[in-house]
């Protein structure tokens, strides 16, 4: 192990390695989502039940977009040495993630009633929202982790790769929803 790594800091070269590695991981994850999205179209075309709660769908979409903004602000703040701004924005992001998950749970409750997992639409609905929800949950845990580390004084300008990585992952979770939302709620 290299000294810089042992101290939790990355050299410029290692930082670029880490960035490229994370991007490739994100591309790979995108392929996983694309397979489930493809299965939706292959199994049932663009058909969609009338009972979907459109307002709720649009609402949680907005919440997730907003959480991307707060995540962006958190990363930008720590890059410029504004620790209080960083902590505030991370906390907001976690909060919005929580709101999103509550929205999904409510939607699941309605879904079990109108289009349970054994139906064709329910199959795609529950697996796509479930897979995405797991990513939201893991993203929220990671965000909470960098919040706790940040409160203890870790990270600062030029040494915030964990923040950058978690935030990138969080944006990816948002991008996945950018495709899942129209696939489940809008087409058809």
């Amino acid at each position: 192990m290299h000294p810089a790594e042992a101290a939790g800091r990355l050299s410029a070269h290692e930082l670029q390695n880490a960035r490229l590695g994370l991007w490739l991981f994100i591309v790979s994850e995108a392929a996983l989502f694309s397979a489930f999205i493809a299965a939706r179209y292959l199994n049932l075309g663009t058909s969609r039940p009338e009972e979907l709660n459109q307002l709720l769908g649009l609402g949680i979409t907005g919440v997730l977009l907003l959480s991307s903004l707060t995540a962006y602000r958190a990363e930008t703040c720590i890059a410029h040495g504004d620790r209080p701004g960083f902590l505030r924005n991370v906390l907001w992001t976690v909060l919005l993630a929580g709101v999103f998950l509550v929205g999904v749970v409510v939607e699941w409750g309605e879904g079990f009633h109108y289009f349970p997992p054994s139906t064709r639409y329910g199959t795609s609905f529950f697996s796509l929202t479930g897979l995405h929800g797991l990513h939201v949950l893991s993203g929220a845990v990671l965000l909470l982790g960098i919040y706790l580390h940040g409160r203890r004084g870790r990270y600062g300008p030029g040494e915030y790769w964990p923040v950058e990585g978690v935030v990138k992952y969080w944006h990816f979770v948002d991008v996945a929803w950018v495709f899942i939302y129209p696939t489940l709620y809008l087409v058809g």
Binding site: R19, S68, A71, T76, H80, H171, V178, F179
Partner: protein, 66 residues
Amino acid sequence: MRPDRLPEKLSVGGRVFGALGVLTAVEWFAARWPGALLWLTLIALGKTALIAEYFMHYSQLVRPEE
């Protein structure tokens, strides 16, 4: 990275968020246009491009200085 550029950077984020909001609104209506699947795909790709470039700093991969 000078601290005085922070408000400027943060306002970029605000504008990107605004653009994403507008695209989401357009999406809502595009679902009823003919050829909806194509329009929805294009809009989703547009949103992805915005997020990847401005939020995820895609160009860092080619220009590390960003």
